[in-house]
């Protein structure tokens, strides 16, 4: 990685805004700007190009606030990402470009989901005192309400890249000037599949370059930060990001074994109270989907996995458990199916959702009422399963003929 001139004290706080940003979002951006702008800190607000209307409450150039524009492509407006900010990746690129020009680090903030309070200092500390290059967030969310992250994304990132980032996909994250310089010209910015969660690609790029990773708490307050789109579309988008990155970084993740915790700055927020989750309804969703989708799954999963998933359609709720190894292998089989295009990729990505619901039902049934430490320990076992089963993925990746779903319709 080339040496990038960086001033570790300089921080740009970037606020990516989509075309639909409302007045409230604008006001929150303004508030954040006035609360954080100061010596060595600059707020950059990125908005889609076009005339700027007066009176929208957005900060203007001057006083440590920079207003930059990015080009929203027609495709960006059509493919609304799960978080609802069309063009977010292009906005982030515009912000990082500003940071790069200043030799500064950059913290990306989503003003819809976080109060502009003192938590920013944790990121600053990670970037400056701890010299971290990628800083991910730690939220106080209960795992039941962020199952995609805890059940797939975090264990997969740990298994692939060896870093136990709790939220490899998140609306808040920070990059060092060094990382920004390394990724600004990366082809991932032009790959549609990477755009809904560009931060995954930035984190994997940091891991690929053996840069330092850290985490810092984010206080999200009470704002609504749930996905804008449905679960199936959200899952399909996020897994599309991840699978595309796996193809891009094949030379990296195949060298990694095991994982290590990342540096944690500050105190982790307490788990929020567990939301009410109807595990029976989740399990029933899976059973219903099995009737419609088992033919599709047979084009992705091997006979043993199909038998184990089928068994779940008949067991009682007490026995409704998805073994960690089956879950990890299933995700890896979908990774291979995506790579080999065994069925159209959108169909493949959407068809994983009911299996995820089954995993979530199993997880909820197993950990409902358990203390936070026990839930964290249970999630650690999920992560370990992804790491142990990684050889299953590597073996098939290197020798695709070992990928043997029930119905093989391979298109290489």
């Amino acid at each position: 990685m080339p040496e990038i001139a960086q001033d570790v004290r300089q921080l740009i706080i970037g606020i990516p805004m989509g075309p639909d940003a409302d007045d409230a979002t604008g006001r929150r951006a303004s508030a954040l700007a006035s609360a954080t702008v100061g010596e060595n800190r600059t707020v950059v607000v990125a908005r889609p190009g076009g005339p700027v209307s007066a009176g929208d409450g957005l900060p203007r150039t001057g006083g440590g606030v920079i207003d930059v524009q990015y080009t929203l492509r027609p495709q960006d407006a059509q493919d609304v990402p799960y978080h609802g900010v069309a063009g977010r990746a292009r906005a982030i690129h515009a912000i990082l470009t500003q940071a790069h020009a200043a030799g500064a680090a950059c913290l990306i903030v989503d003003t819809r989901a976080a109060e502009p309070t003192g938590w920013i200092d944790g990121f600053v500390q990670a970037l400056t005192e701890d010299q971290a290059d990628f800083v991910g967030p730690v939220y106080g969310r209960h795992p039941f309400s962020s199952g995609l992250t805890h059940g797939i994304l975090a264990p997969l990132f740990a298994a692939l890249y060896g870093h136990r980032l709790q939220y490899p996909v998140a609306l808040h994250f920070a990059c060092s000037a060094r990382l920004i310089g390394a990724v600004l010209d990366d082809p991932m910015w032009d790959r549609g599949a990477a755009l809904p969660a560009i931060e995954w690609g930035l984190a994997s790029a940091a891991a690929a370059a053996s840069l330092r990773m850290a985490e810092a708490p984010v206080l999200t307050g009470t704002r609504e930060d749930r996905p804008i789109l449905g679960l199936s579309t959200t899952a399909a988008q996020l897994l599309g990001v991840v699978f595309a990155d796996i193809e891009r970084q094949v030379r990296v993740w195949q060298r990694v074994r095991g994982s290590k915790p990342v540096l944690r700055v500050g105190t982790s927020p307490e788990h929020e109270p567990a939301p009410a989750v109807d595990a029976a309804a989740l399990a029933e969703s899976f059973r219903s989907a099995y009737r419609d989708l088992h033919g599709v799954w047979e084009e992705v999963l091997p006979p043993l996995s199909i038998l184990q998933w089928r068994r779940l359609t008949t067991v009682s709720q007490d026995a409704f458990r998805v073994p960690d190894s089956v879950w990890a292998r299933t995700v890896y089989d979908f990774t291979m199916g995506h790579r080999l295009r065994v069925i159209p990729r959108p169909d493949l990505l959407h068809s994983l959702t009911p299996l995820y619901l089954a995993w979530l039902a199993s997880f909820v049934l197993e950990t409902q009422g358990a203390p936070a430490e026990a839930i964290d320990a249970r999630l650690a076992r999920v992560r370990t399963a992804f790491e142990q089963e990684k050889r299953y993925l590597v073996s098939q990746w290197r020798w695709p003929e070992r990928f043997k779903p029930v119905k093989l319709r391979r298109q290489r």
Partner: protein
């Protein structure tokens, strides 16, 4: 101020170090217009096949205007495409399509000689002795000059001189008599050739294979090979390319001893790559003798080359398996071992493809390919060898290894829709290697085929830059049927072990330097027992091989 240099298609200047090169003849690959001759539009349609195979660089045999008395190495116009293969536009379409697929393209520069039909020669033979036109070639009133120079094509050429009645003089040729050697003592020859280089590099090609490069200049009292004046010509060409272009590559064809070949790298101021000719026959000797010594010797004797230079490794190519660079004893051994049919011999070599040479034994083909891929250098795959194509030694010269690519069991092997008697060459139709039995379509459909195996091995090799860039350390186990070596690049350490024998073999490897590391078998990603202080035991099946990553899990 520095002038702008034209960029090549590759991102990295040393792209050739990580390349997997596929050598093909446009004429033999795919015919799009049904005239029986392969062409560029046909190649265009097959680029996805090559991309799927994992190829990163195409090496195209000569496709220029030529009377085709030496399969295109007798060039009559360096700037035009032979009409049988298409047009210059067709070539450019292929070039851009290859670049779009992330493949580089290198072409031939037959710079030692032209066809006797080239306008330069026609002009020279009619020009007055001593004139600049005449001086494009090497003339003599006697056929006794340069008497110490060996004849290369011993089966067909009695002398390196041929009398030209029109010129009233002898002209010099190191190859066929219809291929007069250019005279690089005449500065205008190099000037013209640099114009040819500019023509193709400006178009966007990524490299040039310099054909027959040791023979450019002649001097009395020498072998007329590898002379300092010849190196000066190459240096001048490299200077010209470096001044005007980036990320382009020169590949030297110098069928010489390693020390002489390495001179063609210069001090990184001549060619970027050169063939490792002595290694290839010794791989065949090693596997036949079930003894690693011939292979290890060739590697030990390989000179160190500049960091940005690279050996080109191959098992077979479009010529005979050349035995010029082995000892007389080794050559006799190769003939006895590999040419039960005397028709297979040509000049100082063997005109057979890989599969027939190895008795169509899948395990031996895999082992030899695994060796090729694991040794320091860039591997070159000859078209058709990825499916185990056969040959036809009765077709004369080297035509038997240049037959149509076997795409399917359809008529003419799917190569062409022309009537069979219109094909430029017969397809292979013997019982073992016929296109009905050996073809791409059948192997695509068979997950256990050689084609699938080859595709996976190419991908695996590409995953580890240590293969193309790493150091080499040969291990000396007691069992000589085992060839084991270590490759290192940064944190990547690979251990490659091969059983050259037809029966299972045990081996104890001295791996104390790697104590604590766990060998992870690379094809199946299976962890083997951790290496300790005592010799590491392995057992390999017949013609078996292992590639291990030596991993340290506490890293």
């Amino acid at each position: 101020m520095r002038s702008m240099r034209l960029k090549g298609s590759a991102e990295h200047p040393a792209w050739y170090k990580d390349a997997v090169i596929y050598q093909l003849h446009v004429r033999s690959f795919a015919d799009s217009n049904g005239d029986g001759i392969g062409d560029f539009p046909g190649l265009l349609r097959r680029l996805d096949y090559l991309s799927d195979l994992g190829i990163t660089c195409l090496w195209l045999l000569p496709f220029f205007v030529s009377p085709l008395r030496d399969d295109g190495y007798d060039v009559a116009d360096y700037r035009q495409v032979n009409a049988s293969y298409g047009t210059l536009d067709d070539f450019q379409t292929v070039l851009h399509a290859a670049h779009d697929r992330g493949m580089q393209v290198i072409i031939e520069l037959a710079l030692n000689h032209t066809s006797d039909q080239h306008p330069w020669f026609q002009r020279a033979r009619r020009a007055a002795p001593g004139s600049p036109e005449r001086a494009f070639y090497v003339w003599s009133d006697t056929d006794q000059r340069f008497a110490g120079t060996r004849i290369i094509f011993v089966d067909t050429e009695p002398s390196n001189w041929t009398w030209d009645a029109e010129a009233g003089a002898y002209y010099w040729h190191r190859f066929f008599s219809h291929q007069p050697d250019l005279n690089y003592d005449n500065p205008r020859v190099l000037e013209e050739m640099l114009g040819v280089v500019d023509f193709w590099l400006t178009m966007g090609i990524d490299g040039l294979r310099l054909d027959a490069v040791p023979y450019l200049v002649e001097r009395e009292g020498t072998s007329c090979e590898n002379l300092p004046e010849t190196h000066a010509v190459i240096k001048a060409m490299r200077r010209h390319i470096d001044a005007h272009y980036t990320n382009r590559m020169l590949l030297a064809e110098a069928n010489q001893l390693p020390a002489q070949v390495s001179a063609y790298f210069g001090s990184s101021d001549e060619c970027h790559m050169a063939y490792h000719f002595p290694l290839m026959p010794r791989l065949f000797i090693g596997i036949h003798q079930e003894n690693r010594e011939p292979i290890a010797d060739a590697l030990v004797q390989t000179p160190v080359i500049p960091d940005d230079c690279q050996w080109a490794l191959f098992l077979r190519n479009h010529d005979e398996l050349t035995l010029e660079m082995v000892s007389d004893e080794e050559r006799d051994y190769m003939y006895l071992a590999y040419t039960a049919d005397p028709e297979a011999r040509l000049n100082l070599g063997i005109r057979r493809r890989l599969a027939p040479l190895l008795g169509n034994d899948r395990r031996r083909i895999e082992l030899m390919t695994a060796l090729l891929f694991s040794l320091p250098g860039t591997p070159i795959i000859y078209y058709g060898d990825e499916i185990g194509m056969g040959d036809n030694i009765l077709l004369g010269d080297r035509h038997g290894v240049r037959t149509p690519m076997q795409w399917s069991a359809d008529v003419n092997a799917g190569f062409s829709t022309a009537p069979a008697d219109a094909l430029f060459s017969r397809v292979i139709d013997d019982p073992v290697y016929s296109y009905q039995a050996v073809n791409v379509a059948a192997q695509e459909a068979d997950a256990a085929s050689l084609l699938h195996w080859m595709r996976n091995m190419v991908a695996l090799r590409k995953l580890f830059h240590v293969f193309g860039r790493g150091s080499l350390e040969i291990l000396p186990p007691e069992n000589r049927a085992i060839f084991a070596h270590v490759r290192r690049l940064g944190d990547d350490v690979l251990l490659c072990v091969a059983n050259l024998s037809r029966v299972p073999q045990p081996v104890q490897l001295e791996l104390r330097d790697f104590a604590g590391a766990t060998p992870v078998e690379m094809l199946g990603y299976t962890s083997f027992p951790t290496i300790g202080a005592t010799p590491y035991p392995l057992t390999l099946g017949p013609y078996g091989y292992y590639w291990f990553e030596l991993q340290r899990f506490d890293a």
